[in-house]
C-alpha cells in the first residue's frame, strides 16, 4: 500500500492506497468526490479531467502516487457557498450541458484555458476542448458559454482563478 498526501480543492487530504490505483479512483472512491467521471479509463474521452498544479490532466492516466504532494482541483472545488463559478453559471444559462456526464471534464478544461488565456479565440477554445468527447451537444453551446464566461472574468476587478 502507498500513502499519498495531496491538496484537493484547497484542503490537505491523505489516503493509503494500492500502488496501481489511479488519481481518478482515489478521488472517486477514497475521497467520495464523484464529480470526475470514468468514461473509458484509458485517457481517450476526458470525462476524468482535473487540474493538477494548474494543468488539465486525464486523472485516469495518473497514478495516485504521482499526485503525492501536488495541488489538485476538481469540479467540486469551483463553486463556493456564495456563488457559482462564472463558467458554471454560463453553462447553465446557455444550456450547454445535456446528459451532463462529460460536463465536469469540459468545465475543468475550460477553466485551465481561461486561467492561462483570459481572452481566447474560438479556435483556441475548440483546441482546449479537443480532448473532451461529448456525444449529446455537438460542443456548440459549450463554446458560446466559455466565450461568455471569458467576458465576465475579464470584467471582474480582481483576477482570482477560483
Amino acid at each position: 500500500m502507498t500513502k499519498v498526501t495531496l491538496t484537493v480543492n484547497g484542503e490537505a487530504r491523505s489516503a493509503s492506497v494500492p500502488p496501481e490505483m489511479t488519481l481518478l479512483r482515489l478521488l472517486r472512491e477514497e475521497f467520495n468526490l464523484t464529480g470526475s467521471k470514468l468514461g473509458c479509463d484509458v485517457g481517450d474521452c476526458g470525462a476524468c479531467t482535473v487540474l493538477v498544479d494548474g494543468k488539465a490532466v486525464n486523472s485516469c492516466l495518473m497514478l495516485a502516487g504521482q499526485a503525492d504532494g501536488r495541488d489538485v482541483v476538481t469540479i467540486e472545488g469551483l463553486a463556493t457557498m456564495e456563488r457559482l463559478h462564472p463558467i458554471q453559471k454560463a453553462f447553465e444559462e446557455k444550456g450547454s450541458l445535456q446528459c451532463g456526464f462529460c460536463g465536469p471534464g469540459v468545465i475543468m478544461s475550460a477553466k485551465a484555458l481561461l486561467d492561462e488565456n483570459p481572452d481566447p479565440s474560438e479556435e483556441e477554445i475548440r483546441d482546449a476542448l479537443a480532448g473532451n468527447l461529448c456525444r449529446c451537444t455537438g460542443y456548440t453551446k459549450m463554446i458560446e458559454a466559455i466565450q461568455a464566461a471569458a467576458r465576465v472574468e475579464d470584467a471582474r476587478p480582481t483576477a482570482k482563478s477560483a
Partner: protein, 466 residues
C-alpha cells in the same frame, strides 16, 4: 477563543462552514458540497406563459457542479462489484464452463452462469436473447458468466480464471450471404431472414414504363455505436421480504420491469426499478443488459451488487446501428417529377432481434423519402449474422435511407440538369398528401424547411461555388 472559533464568528459563509466541519469531521467523511447561496431563478423560469420560453434546466445546474449522481456514483455499504466474461468467439457451442478456480479466488463472493437464470431469454419483440449464453454463443460479445467480488479489480481478474470449452462454428458475417443461406442458419432451425416487410402502392411497372428515364443506385452504410459517455450500469439490492430494487441506466423502466419479472421469475410487485439521469442513451439503453445479472448475484450473496460496463464492452456487447444495403430504382418525367420508385433494403440484424422489427418497419416506410410518389414498391428484409446485435439507435433506419434517397435525388437532378433545390420543391409532400402507406398527412412543412434553409444558407442559382 481559539483560531477556529474566531473564524466561526467572523469568516465568510464558506470559511465558517469549513471551520465547523473541521472541528466535527471524522477522517473519512466526504467534503462539504457547495450550495451556492445565490439561488438563481432565471427570468424565463418565472414567466407565464411557459411554452416557447428558453427555460434553463434544473438538472443543468447540478451537472455543472458535478453533483448529479449517475448509477456508477452510487455506493452502498457492503456493495460488491460485478463483471461479465465475454465469449470472444463469434459462433460456438458451449461444451463446459468451469468456475471453480474463480470461485476459490480470495475476494470473489459468487459466480453465476446461464444455468442460474430462471428464464434465460428476453427481447423487445422476439425473445431470442439470453441473459447469459448457456448452450450457444452467437456473437463475440455474448456474456457467458458473471462474477461478484469485493473490488472491481478482483472481479476483472477472476474472469480470466473461468474456463470455457467451446466447439467453434463457422460464423456468418455477410448479410447478403446470410440472406441466401437456407441451412444451416445462424439461429437454426429458425430461418436467417427473421422479419420481412412490404409496402405496395399503385403500379411500379406501369410507372417505369411511363417514365422519361429510369435511374438506379445502390448504397451501403456501416455499423456504428451510440457511444454514450456514461457506460451502462446497474445496481441491485434485495430486502428481507424478497423485493428487489434495481438502479439502472435503462431508458425505459416499464419494459425493464417486465423483462426482469420474466427472467427472474418473480411478480412485478416485487420489483422496483429506479433510473436517475442517464448519461446519454441514443437508443442503446432501451433494453436490459446487466440488470438480471446483478439481481441474481445480489440474491446469491445477500449484498448489493453493482455492474458497470467497461468502455470496450460498450462496443463489444451493447446494441449498435443496423448496417443497410439499399437498392433504389426511380422513374422520372422529363420535368423531374418522380413517377415510380422501387426499393429493396437488406438490414444486417446481428446476433439477436433486439429492436430490428421496429427498425425494419420504419426504414421501409420512410425509404421513399418525403416525396409524393404514386407508384411505390418497397421491400425490406432483416437477417441474422454472428456480429454485435443491432438494435435501436437514434433514427431507427432513417439516417441510412435518407443518405440513399437524397444521394439518389441529387444524381437524378444532375443527370436532368435541374437544380437540387428545385427538383425537391417539385416533389415534396404537401398538406393533405398521401404517404407511402396512404395516410393523409397533416402539418406537413418539408417545403417550408427547404426554403428556410436555402434562404439562410444563401443557396441561389445552380450550384455555383462561393
Amino acid at each position: 477563543m481559539d483560531k477556529k472559533s474566531a473564524v466561526v464568528e467572523t469568516g465568510t459563509a464558506t470559511e465558517r462552514a469549513r471551520s465547523v466541519e473541521e472541528m466535527l469531521r471524522a477522517p473519512a467523511a466526504a467534503p462539504l458540497a457547495p450550495l451556492p447561496l445565490e439561488v438563481l431563478v432565471p427570468e424565463a423560469k418565472q414567466q407565464t406563459p411557459a411554452v416557447r420560453q428558453r427555460v434553463t434546466r434544473p438538472d443543468g445546474r447540478l451537472h455543472g457542479l458535478g453533483q448529479t449522481k449517475y448509477i456508477d456514483d452510487f455506493y452502498m455499504p457492503g456493495m460488491l462489484y460485478a463483471k461479465v466474461k465475454r465469449a470472444g468467439i463469434a459462433s460456438a457451442r458451449i461444451i463446459s464452463i468451469d468456475t471453480k478456480e474463480a470461485e476459490a479466488m480470495p475476494g470473489v463472493v459468487a459466480v453465476i452462469t446461464g444455468r442460474d437464470v430462471p428464464c434465460n431469454s428476453f427481447g423487445p419483440s422476439l425473445k431470442d436473447q439470453p441473459v447469459l449464453a448457456d448452450t450457444r454463443v452467437f456473437y463475440s460479445g455474448d456474456g457467458v458468466a458473471a462474477v461478484a467480488a469485493v473490488t472491481e479489480q478482483i472481479a476483472t481478474e477472476a474472469l480470466e480464471k473461468i474456463k470455457v470449452e467451446y466447439e467453434p462454428l463457422t460464423p456468418v458475417l455477410d448479410p447478403l450471404l446470410s440472406l441466401q443461406l437456407e441451412t444451416p442458419g445462424v439461429h437454426a432451425p429458425n430461418p436467417n431472414v427473421y422479419w420481412h416487410k412490404v409496402i405496395k402502392k399503385g403500379d411500379v411497372e406501369r410507372g417505369f414504363a411511363e417514365s422519361y428515364r429510369v435511374f438506379e443506385g445502390t448504397f451501403r452504410t456501416q455499423m456504428v455505436e451510440h457511444v454514450p459517455l456514461e457506460p451502462h450500469s446497474s445496481l441491485a439490492t434485495w430486502d428481507a421480504n424478497g423485493r428487489v430494487t434495481i438502479y439502472s441506466t435503462l431508458g425505459r423502466i416499464t419494459l425493464g420491469r417486465a423483462d426482469l419479472s420474466r427472467t427472474l421469475g418473480i411478480p412485478m410487485s416485487r420489483i422496483r426499478i429506479i433510473a436517475t439521469v442517464v448519461g446519454g442513451n441514443f437508443g442503446g439503453k432501451n433494453e436490459i443488459t446487466t440488470e438480471p445479472i446483478v439481481a441474481l448475484l445480489a440474491k446469491k450473496t445477500g449484498r448489493p451488487v453493482k455492474c458497470t460496463f467497461t468502455r470496450p464492452e460498450e462496443f463489444t456487447s451493447s446494441t449498435t446501428r443496423h448496417p443497410l444495403i439499399m437498392e433504389y430504382k426511380t422513374g422520372v418525367s422529363k420535368q423531374g417529377k418522380l413517377l415510380a420508385r422501387q426499393i429493396r433494403l437488406v438490414l444486417d440484424g446481428g446476433a439477436y432481434c433486439s429492436w430490428s422489427e421496429t427498425t425494419l418497419g420504419k426504414a421501409c416506410i420512410l425509404s421513399a423519402g418525403p416525396y409524393e410518389i404514386e407508384n411505390l414498391h418497397a421491400e425490406a428484409f432483416v437477417v441474422y449474422t454472428n456480429k454485435t446485435m443491432t438494435g435501436a439507435m437514434r433514427g431507427f433506419g432513417a439516417p441510412q435511407v435518407c443518405f440513399a434517397y437524397e444521394s439518389h435525388m441529387d444524381d437524378i437532378a444532375k443527370a436532368l440538369g435541374i437544380d437540387p433545390l428545385e427538383i425537391r420543391l417539385m416533389n415534396t409532400l404537401k398538406e393533405g398528401s398521401l404517404s407511402p402507406t396512404s395516410q393523409v398527412l397533416h402539418s406537413v412543412v418539408v417545403a417550408d424547411t427547404l426554403k428556410q434553409a436555402a434562404e439562410r444558407f444563401g443557396w441561389n442559382g445552380n450550384g455555383s461555388k462561393s
